[in-house]
Symmetry: C2
Subunit: 345 residues, 2 copies
DNA sequence: ACGGCTGTCGAGAGCGCTCTCACCTCCCCG
DNA sequence: CGGGGAGGTGAGAGCGCTCTCGACAGCCGT
């Protein structure tokens, strides 16, 4: 069943090259302090034998694993299935790969899984963790702090138990929201509504705050709570139209919500963007490009977020990983957003 | 910087429980052949010390890692960002977690990465691999065979270098396509067109073959090649309308393609489903539910596919992982698809 | 010409675990 | 009542690697 092809060891390479294990080890790990002819001999022996270091043996003594856990909490189908995490994972993967680190993926649902993740991280199987913890009431951040593993969070962590200096990377949700609303204002709209996201997530709170920054004096009835889903968008849009039939623009907390809102607007005979301008958030391509009309929205560079998270973590794990271009470390890093104009606003 | 909290070792637990290392090891790994009172003493010592086994040390001697690599080849933005992989990952993750295995994610783009993945797998860092290799010309499967790691493929592998018994899990693309076309026939449609997917992928080939199974006599001009993208769907739809203005139904190779086709049909003034019925494939929710009209399509249970892949692999790695319900092993497993009726057909 | 210094290399001691094997009970059967 | 066997336990030998430390060369300055 299993082929017992015993892979060559350091010992074997050493014998073949006619040097000691220590020397082979030095060469394999960078070759500093070994004279050129020897380096060459060892390299050839490695090549000929097809030697690959045994990571387990190495970890046993170095206590490093060159592996990072990516924890994605509560991937409910709707949330998890959007392109968001896929892109973020890609960014993370690229950066980790560039520094020869492995990506261990931990998906959780429910409390039991949280405990499992906590145990895993505390078990010292990985050097660090990148954590996406969406909800404010999430127990995960606490468990992770308890595990004592260097961690970078994706998205501003919202819990309030006094972990002020958590390192995180986030999009400029608030600034993006301001840009969206200002765009609508620039279009001459005055009765601008906002459908929020699920307010147990910091991104939804920040986007709503951005809306309020610009529309401080707005009619409070123009803000309705949604939940980041199309169905929530539909419900909220109906409520808005009932309450304020005179509205002339909507800022939806994300593209899915905007898609729902668009459907209701069409159903009620409002023309977009002529009667009501609509703007979304995320620039989730398969949605934003497919709506009718295509959605004007706020784009965030998801992949870059992932890459940056990984970079911050690697830097903490080993300062040598720092690029020259890296700025001084700060607890939170916020990435800019950009307005993408399509037809809906 | 790093807190040198030396974690307790087996030795420490043994000392505390007043037994030997061997006994602690036995208890930690199942406790067979140890008398009850000792088991209890050891358990308590483990608890009190917060002992967690050092996986590296364990792997060093057992040569097992309880880790599985998931390789996703060529995640071009468009492909990777769809919900497909996310769901599959979730299925895989659930199954692996249930059997205490870790998921190491390897994303690749381009040839260099393939070599890296090959080296990683050959390096014996994981016990097995789950591989998604989309394209027929992909070099990855060869590299993986060379690495000698037990592997299960996601989707029917299409390369033809004589690896007939590769284990894989796939959806019933052909059967699903037949069901889609038969549905259109049942609607009384006679001039049924097909927009294929990218034909360098087996799923696209199989879906086209399913179409042909039912429409053996069809006008060959009714089949146009697409590429699984909305833009490809638009282009293909235009071509179809130009060539065969009398068509009354379209089977698109996936939902994204169908969405593009729908746009062109609307633009050309054809009513869906009255003039032209449209059916997709995948039931990619954010798309299928958002189109106008909502898309009738073929659903595949993506998450179950992932779970099944993991289960097959685990069973190969260790027969004890087999559930009682598992059928006799066969090289390929094909999951059923179901028709989801919405408004477009 | 000599003591020290820098630079290269090898010997050897573990890292924390599993697993074989020998030993020791204790029970059962003749 | 003794011998054999079964079952429970511990001692010890590694798994493949890194890393410290000592040995030894070659070089400098005085």
């Amino acid at each position: 069943m299993t082929e017992a092809v015993t892979r060559p060891t350091l010992e074997a390479v050493a014998a073949r090259a006619g040097v000691s294990r220590a020397t082979v080890s030095r060469v394999v790990n960078g070759g500093d302090g070994v004279r050129e002819p020897l380096v060459e001999r060892v390299r050839r022996a490695v090549e000929e034998l097809g030697y690959v270091p045994n990571q387990a043996a190495r970890s046993l003594v170095t206590r490093r694993h060159d592996a990072v856990a990516v924890v994605i909490a509560e991937p409910e189908t709707r949330v998890f299935a959007d392109p968001f995490f896929a892109l973020q994972l890609r960014g993370i993967s690229k950066e980790l790969t560039a520094h020869d680190n492995q990506l261990v993926l931990l998906l959780t649902e429910g409390r039991d899984d949280h405990a499992r993740v906590g145990r895993y991280l505390a078990g010292g199987h990985v050097d660090g963790a990148l954590v996406f913890s969406l909800h404010l009431d999430d127990a995960l951040p606490g468990l992770i702090r308890g595990a004592g593993v260097p961690t970078v969070f994706g998205g501003r962590p919202g819990w309030s138990d006094g972990t002020p200096r958590a390192v995180y990377v986030d999009s400029d949700n608030r600034g993006g929201a301001r840009a969206a609303v200002r765009h609508l204002v620039g279009l001459g709209r005055t009765r601008i509504a906002h459908i929020t996201g699920a307010l147990d997530q910091t991104s939804a709170v920040d986007r709503r705050d951005g809306f309020r920054d610009v529309m401080a004096e707005a009619d409070p009835r123009l803000v309705v709570e949604g939940d980041f889903t199309p169905a929530g968008g539909e419900r909220a849009m109906r409520e808005l139209l009932d309450r304020c039939p005179d509205l002339d623009a909507v800022f939806a907390a994300n593209d899915l919500t905007a898609a729902g809102a668009l459907r209701v607007l069409r159903e009620r005979g409002r023309r977009v963007p002529d009667d009501v301008a609509v703007i979304g958030f995320d620039d989730m391509l398969p949605v934003a490009e497919q709506t009718d009309p295509p959605l004007t929205t706020i784009r965030q560079d998801i992949e870059e977020m992932g890459r940056l998270m990984a970079r911050l973590l690697l830097r903490r794990l080993d300062p040598r990983n720092a690029d020259d271009t890296d700025a001084a470390p700060s607890p939170g890093v916020v990435l800019p957003t950009t307005l993408v104009r399509r037809a809906s606003a």
